[in-house]
Symmetry: C2
Subunit: 113 residues, 2 copies
Amino acid sequence: MSEIAKSPAPPYYAVIFTSVRTEGDNGYAKMADEMTELGVDQPGFLGVESVRDAEGAGITVSYWDSLEAIENWRNHPRHQEAQKLGQELWYKSFATRVCKVERHGRFKPPNAE
Amino acid sequence: MSEIAKSPAPPYYAVIFTSVRTEGDNGYAKMADEMTELGVDQPGFLGVESVRDAEGAGITVSYWDSLEAIENWRNHPRHQEAQKLGQELWYKSFATRVCKVERHGRFKPPNAE
């Protein structure tokens, strides 16, 4: 994650995807890059934040302007293929939570770059 | 993060805390442990998921049964001290988003431990 996602004034929507990876790459990194590139181009996409630690636990939060935008991305044919491979190969377990962001705040110190 | 947080049927609430750490520990790890211990004991706490990568980017999502529970934890005196030190010492930048979880799904393959 290079920086914290900018987002408009609430309300907007978030998808919290929490996961634990299986061992080995098995094509995961390539597909993850492809999904990031494809995801940011979808209608209604606002931003994404993603972190994975050395033990394979990860949290990705993507932000969207509507529930319809989330639904369209969920049903995108290439994303559906990735979801199938995720269940078969890449994840020991995961949870997906669809949320309405009701309030947000940001902090950056005055002397920040 | 040892495992994905269990949570009740929606709706419930989530606080997404995304942050980028400053260099060095400066008492952060000790306070983070203390806040985790204190947080899980608060009324209305449902669960927490937290990941930080080697570059210092982190996402912590805590789950709560109400907005009131989130507000009470935000205003807890010891948590307020931690928030102040966070702005002064530990974070280059952060964002806090308060969300209503409207839908969730989980996956664990049939052969999982």
